[in-house]
């Protein structure tokens, strides 16, 4: 508490979305209580946002100003009359009113708001733009003006109240409030959040550096979160594509393995979903998800794919380069044999060793008439599109939303597949050891898996940029 940077009081009429705004800024759906009725917030509740080791921003949620007409009439009558006794301006009126608070128990909520107005550096006045402009709102603004603090009107619910925005803007301009921001605590846009901090920056020049740090920090967090989410999606695609299960070539076994495959793919998607929700700080119950339809394809043994040949050192441009790597080891063992012989022997041994390690199971399966089942292209396409849609929904969801997110099928058809799609799948399918569920005893070779995940992530970043 000793190191706070500045404090902001969020005020407004009842049910305009003050708590929702704070929840969205904090990415915390547990802050305060929200309900579609007046008088939900009854305490003045504060939340600290950490900017750095030395600075905090404190935001206070306040009860709604529900009886502004009565309050203003008192301030403008009983307390204005005392101006000859020393009450000269709005602040004096408010202070005098607060000193006599016990005389107005019916206005105890409003008195909390008045105290918050006077004790904070900046005021966010939240307006539900779906509402028409009524006298009580004008009175609220007049009361706020008595506090002589910088005010940022926050136009909330702009999606639903789009038609009223210009009317509210004109009304605010009449009261000399030209610097307002638009926000929607249900349909969230990160740029709107940034505008709030930028507007604070323009009104509080003394805190310019600290607010700039806050803006930078939030932008970095947003980008990191987005990239991490894209990594999770890329990783899911690679894991599922690499996932395969061996079945004996009879109906019963295939049925059993199919179920096992489906269960595992669904488990992987569910894990990623949980991670994405955690990353964006939502709860599992925020989403209403239908089950992923899964079809099984048959994994094809592709011993001589270019990708695998490279694994064995048989790259078109550098034959036996990999083998030469083993040649070094063989050189060490031979320690004195000629290099060429060692490299050749090493290369051949390397390839043989590789074939044995990598394809022993597959070749054995082939000989015994077993088959490998994996998720087919359609399943992977649906999985991919679902994740992209989910990410888009998560990024636009405010933490005050109470409706469940729905990943329905209709939105999925709009997303096209990347050009490198087939290449990604082929690469992943050729490396079953990349799927954690396959329990391979081979080295993980995370470099190559990471490279593929990175490539897919880069593609996702490009998609977001294009949007």
């Amino acid at each position: 508490m000793n190191k706070h940077l500045l404090s902001v009081a969020v005020v407004g009429h009842a049910n305009t979305g003050k708590t929702s705004l704070i929840r969205t800024l904090l990415r915390d759906a547990s802050f305060g209580d929200i309900a579609d009725k007046a008088g939900t917030t009854r305490h003045v509740e504060g939340a600290e946002i950490r900017i750095d080791d030395n600075h905090n921003l404190v935001i206070y949620d306040t009860p709604g100003l529900e009886d502004s007409i009565h309050l203003l009439s008192l301030l403008d009558s009983d307390f204005a009359k005392l101006s000859s006794a020393g009450y000269e301006d709005g602040i004096d009126r408010l202070l005098a009113f607060i000193q006599r608070e016990h005389e107005f128990p019916e206005l105890d909520q409003e008195i909390k708001v008045l105290k918050a107005l006077l004790s904070n550096d900046l005021i966010f006045y939240v307006i539900d733009v779906r509402e028409p402009i009524l006298g009580k709102y004008r009175d609220e603004l007049k009361i706020l003006s008595y506090a002589a603090k910088p005010i940022i009107p926050v136009l909330n619910f702009i999606e639903a109240g789009e038609a009223n925005i210009s009317v509210w803007q004109a009304q605010l301009a009449r009261l000399n409030l030209h610097a307002f921001v638009s926000f929607d605590s249900v349909v969230f846009r990160f740029s709107d959040e940034m505008k709030i901090y930028q507007k604070m920056q323009s009104l509080l020049a003394d805190y310019d550096l600290q607010l700039e740090a806050l803006i930078q920090q939030r932008q970095l967090q947003w980008l990191q979160r987005e990239k991490a989410a894209q990594q999770l999606i890329a990783s899911l695609l690679v894991e599922v594509a690499a996932c395969r299960f061996k079945a004996v070539n009879n109906e019963e076994s295939i049925q059993q393995v199919s179920e096992q495959l489906q269960a595992n793919v669904r488990l992987l998607e569910s894990q990623t979903l949980t991670q994405l929700l955690t990353l964006y700080q939502f709860k599992q119950h925020d989403i209403d998800l239908y089950e992923l339809p899964i079809q099984e394809g048959q994994w094809k043994l592709d011993l001589f794919s270019a990708d695998n040949l490279q694994e064995f050192g048989i790259k078109a441009t550098s034959n036996f380069v990999k083998g030469a790597g083993v040649g070094v080891a063989v050189d060490l063992v031979a320690a004195g044999m000629t290099l060429g012989a060692a490299a050749v022997v090493g290369g051949v041994a390397g390839v043989l060793w590789g074939v044995k390690q990598r394809y022993y199971d597959e070749l054995q399966a082939k000989l015994k008439g077993h088959r490998y089942l994996c998720a087919d292209d359609i399943t992977l396409q649906v999985l991919w599109k679902r994740q992209l849609h989910l990410l888009s929904v998560l990024q636009q969801r405010g933490h005050a939303s109470v409706n469940k997110m729905s990943i329905d099928g209709s939105a999925l058809n709009e997303t096209g597949l990347p050009k490198a799609w087939a290449k990604w799948l082929k690469s992943a399918r050729q490396h079953p050891q990349w799927a954690s569920l396959n329990e391979s005893d081979q080295p993980l070779f995370t470099n190559k898996k990471s490279a593929l995940i990175k490539e897919i992530t880069e593609h996702l970043i490009q998609i977001v940029k294009l949007k």
Binding site: H13, R27, D28, G46, E48, A228, V321, K322, A324, L339
Partner: protein, 489 residues
Amino acid sequence: MDLYQRHLLTEGIRVIEKTAPSDKFKAPYQNLKFEDAVLKRTDLAELRYQTAPIFNHFKYLINLLSGLMCFVFLILGATSISQLLVNENNSQINFFWALLLFIVPNFLSLLLWFFLYFKSKVVNFTWVASFSLSLISLLDKLQHKITTQHLYYPALFQYYFDHRFGSYLGRSQFSFMSHFWWCSYLLGATFSLLLVLATHQVDFIWQTTILNEDAFLWLTQLLTYLPELLNISVPSVKEVAYASINAVNSVDMAQYNRVNWSNLLIFSLVIYALMPRLILTFIFYRRIKYKQKNFKPDFTLPYYLQLKNIIHPIMNARFIKDADRQISENTNKRIPAADFNHNMSMPLDAFPIAIELTQQAYQDALKIVNAHYSVKLLNIIDRESEEKVLSALASSHLSGLIVFVDIARLPDRGWLTLIKKCSDKISGEMYLVILGQETVDKNPRLFARLQNWIEIAVKANISEKNMTYIIGEQHEDNPKGTHEGTEYE
């Protein structure tokens, strides 16, 4: 425990927790930088997960494998002298063969290593890694009989192996091991050679079929350049030429030649083979240490971002600043669920007022009022209109009060205060007419709002039988503008 080990444990815990970091390891992280907070959490989590003994075991295995291989190469180097260079049946050393056996392969191997090291993308060490993994696994089975003691043993093993031999440390690690083993081999050979030369009297010759004498002379001169600079006695050009024909010298001269050739051989072995390997071994040892010192988990991974949300959430703290004194009273004061009167009768001697009606709702209310009442319907939208209504009420002879409200508006304490002020001005009953555009049954939000109106009306002492809900004319659900059972007395 140094920073590298703590970072390694942090990664080990990431491997164990897989996709979701646990929020069970609570501590005051707020005032720590994220990295320090993660390390603090690692210290706590380590008490539960016990990854350090597992990692120490893996380290021991790799060191053991490296040590065993080192010993094998030492023996190989030592025996190669007696097997391939000097033995009981042969008292001559072919200097050319000695070079080919120790220095030339070493040199070419260095070139190959150089190529592989700096062209890392051309080649990967997949099969070296696979081979090493198999060796370590075998060693583990021999050393560590029960491999399933720790629940996450295989996952940690995979991670540790990838860490030591993967992209971050792998090239340095392989280079270090390769140079170290060459050192062992050459050291074994050097000691063995010293031992042989100390205990045997051998003559040095050089023999070749396909190379000419000039090439060998040039090679020997190249090798003798450095020792001559250091004033070490080495064979002269003449002695080299004699060696090729195995000329017989006097006893003194022969002994002198043997010492010179021995000096050259030992010097060549130490300086041209062992020393570069020792230097490279040291360099890569330092490089590994440097990389270990600078090793940091990748904090941009989804796992660490999730962890950041747990230990450094955007909200640092939350607190109540001005608590509501009436909260318990308000919470306990439950208003029973109520319903409006579907067939409400409104008195004709009542004063109709509207509160915050939109134009459309006002028109709906106006139609009702104009049809049955002679009083002008006033809509209270601000303080001025409120005062006007209160004044009109005070001067009115009508006993009742009919309040028209819009279901879309939120009932609040301001409304309650106004109704109480109005009720003070009348003697009869109050009636509430809630205007809407659609039936509430199909819209849960509207239904809840209607309940809010009923609740606040009860607080304003309006009887349930005096409340009704009317659907306006414009809505398609009610094209004829029927009013739900309202009658006029």
